[in-house]
Symmetry: C2
Subunit: 364 residues, 2 copies
């Protein structure tokens, strides 16, 4: 991982920054190799202080000392027995920093207030940054891509196994539990987000939480699942029907699949993220369902299941080879239900390469 | 839940605040009943704008509209199709706020910058607050306590079932997966944190992540697990040995159990959180292991598995009836392993009441 660290340090130098305080946990892992997970932003397993020209530090508490020493090669481990700020004060005394950047998108206001007080005391200028490490992370290395592909492959195996066991009378919650059990049994580190199983009308909520509702024949059932392998995520959605789908369900699945294929066709280097969204969205709009597709077409996937770049009207930046994205159009009809189909692809020099193998069964 | 909302509004009035923006997800659920979970702080399912004298709003995105309408009785649901700030601007135009508080411990610096810009534009004074709703949440209602007790009971049942299946040759990761599968099969919403199974030397890391290490006879195995029922958490740690524990393991278990009992004895209303920590810590210090107990004695449990109040040197505040806490001393010896024992108790008028039933098997 020291390649990534070197890249970051060059960027810091270019911006006239002496150091960056890294609080975002996946950025921390990406740069240091330290795999500890935060239990929420208020329970951090540590922060990095990456200097542009000198040593870099992993600041953590005593519970993580051994793990940090084992994993974070190239970082000096410093343990804070009494909170972060006293330790930072000592480091600032020895490092003579003038301009210190921090992650504005992953620092709590209250922590910022404490950091600002300390910076003032030491005559350090604080510089809020957003997305610097996240931008490096958007382009996957071969090693990262291999882990993502493993995750996608395992995801498909888990789905296939569970799909074979689906039957009317199972509850959404039972199916979600079965999926997550199967993930773990087959060696995933765990789900990359809480599994969504949304049957019938519940499918009209794109972020539905599994309920006690029982699966019934004929209705669309959205299964949105992801898992982690070596820290890297998969994300996949299938919409399935037990027994015979009715005409409306079939039409919706075909429409969404058509939008997905249009999106994948448009996914290539040099086009803006918003362009791909527009291409797929137009298919759904032209069918009169523009108002029923209320989320963006896709997002980057890596150490975070949702990361940059996004395929959304907000993203005017150009896509580049090595980016890994989901393409997941959907149509949601309140009272009826929803259909969403999601695959993952990597942007190549020529276009994109689908990471999913199993796509055919969706072409209902 | 509207009782809690009324209490909050009175507190806002008392402080001369016109409204509070609630971004912390468990605070949001506590006040509104809206059960959606955030996928990390950067992917919020919504915020509340609670006014002291007028209506209160749940601001969310289209994906959560139906769920919000179903769950958040007493809140006006407003959907932001184009992000939070345009919607806030419209609400500010109609509400004529002068002093708006926000949650400093759960607002990102970058969001704060946007909010501050909007507040300046509208002539609103921003007031950072910490812990206002969290403080209300520390005292559990009878309904909340009932859910916590259900969670603790289920936790013990899951542990007992898995304990009966433990045998040498299972890996830490397999045991953790088995625990989480059993949780779900028995009806838990899910784990309240990633299950810890740390065998032998791995137990020296209080926050160890389960590895491929196989359980072996004679060594201490720390199992730290929690689950959720109705949104409320349990948290329980057992240290078990397969076969005969050796002399050192037995001595450590006895020492930690003695510290736990001392802590529970000291847990009562009117004493400071730090006092309870000191009492239990002294037992471990007097045995010469003060340096091997590097975390605080306990923490509050509720909608968050870690919440206030803490039993730590930092907490000088007095405990009050209705608070639910863990008591979890530990001893960690690098190279050897660790022992931690954790029960939950509720502070009563007279002292405390243990929420765990199954405690005897630890008295090795």
């Amino acid at each position: 991982m020291s390649l990534m660290l070197d890249k970051l340090r060059r960027r810091l130098k270019r911006r006239g920054l002496d150091a960056l305080l890294v609080s975002q946990p996946e950025n921390r892992r990406y740069l240091s190799g330290f795999t500890a997970a935060d239990h929420g932003i208020s329970e951090s397993a540590g922060v990095l202080l990456v200097t542009a020209a000198g040593p870099s530090f992993l600041l953590t508490d005593g519970r993580y000392r051994l793990q940090a020493e084992q994993e974070a090669a190239g970082f000096e481990i410093r343990v804070y027995p009494r909170g972060l700020f006293p330790l930072l004060r000592r480091l600032f005394n020895s490092l003579a920093l003038e301009r210190l950047a921090f992650e504005s998108d992953y620092l709590l206001h209250s922590v910022f207030v404490g950091l600002a007080r300390l910076a003032t005391e030491k005559g350090i200028e604080l510089v809020p940054l957003t997305g610097l490490v996240e931008e490096l992370r958007q382009i996957k290395s071969a090693a990262e891509l291999a882990l993502i592909e493993q995750a996608v492959r395992l995801n498909e195996q888990v789905f296939a196994e569970v799909y074979g066991q689906l039957r009317p009378g199972l509850s959404e919650r039972e199916v979600a539990a079965l999926i997550e059990e199967t993930m773990r049994r087959r060696g995933a580190e765990g789900p990359s987000f809480p599994t969504i199983v949304a049957a019938g009308p519940n499918g009209a909520m794109p972020h539905a939480v599994p309920t006690e509702r029982l699966l019934a024949p004929g209705e669309p059932i959205i299964i949105d699942m992801g898992l982690k392998v070596g820290g890297y995520c998969s994300d996949m959605t299938r919409t399935v029907v037990l027994g015979q789908p009715d005409g409306q369900t079939l039409a919706m699945i075909r429409l969404v699949r058509q939008a997905q294929l249009a999106g994948l066709q448009a996914l290539r280097p040099g086009v803006a993220g918003r362009h791909v969204d527009q291409v797929a969205r137009r298919v759904i709009e032209e069918a009169g369902h523009g108002d029923h597709f209320g989320h963006s077409l896709g997002h980057g996937v890596g150490l975070n299941v949702h990361e940059g770049p996004s395929l959304s009207y907000r993203n005017g930046k150009l896509l580049r080879p090595g980016m890994v994205l989901t393409v997941e159009p959907g149509v949601y009809l309140p009272g009826w239900g929803g259909v969403r189909l999601e695959n993952m692809a990597v942007v190549t020099e020529a276009g994109c390469r689908l990471l999913n193998r199993d796509t055919t069964f969706l072409d209902a």
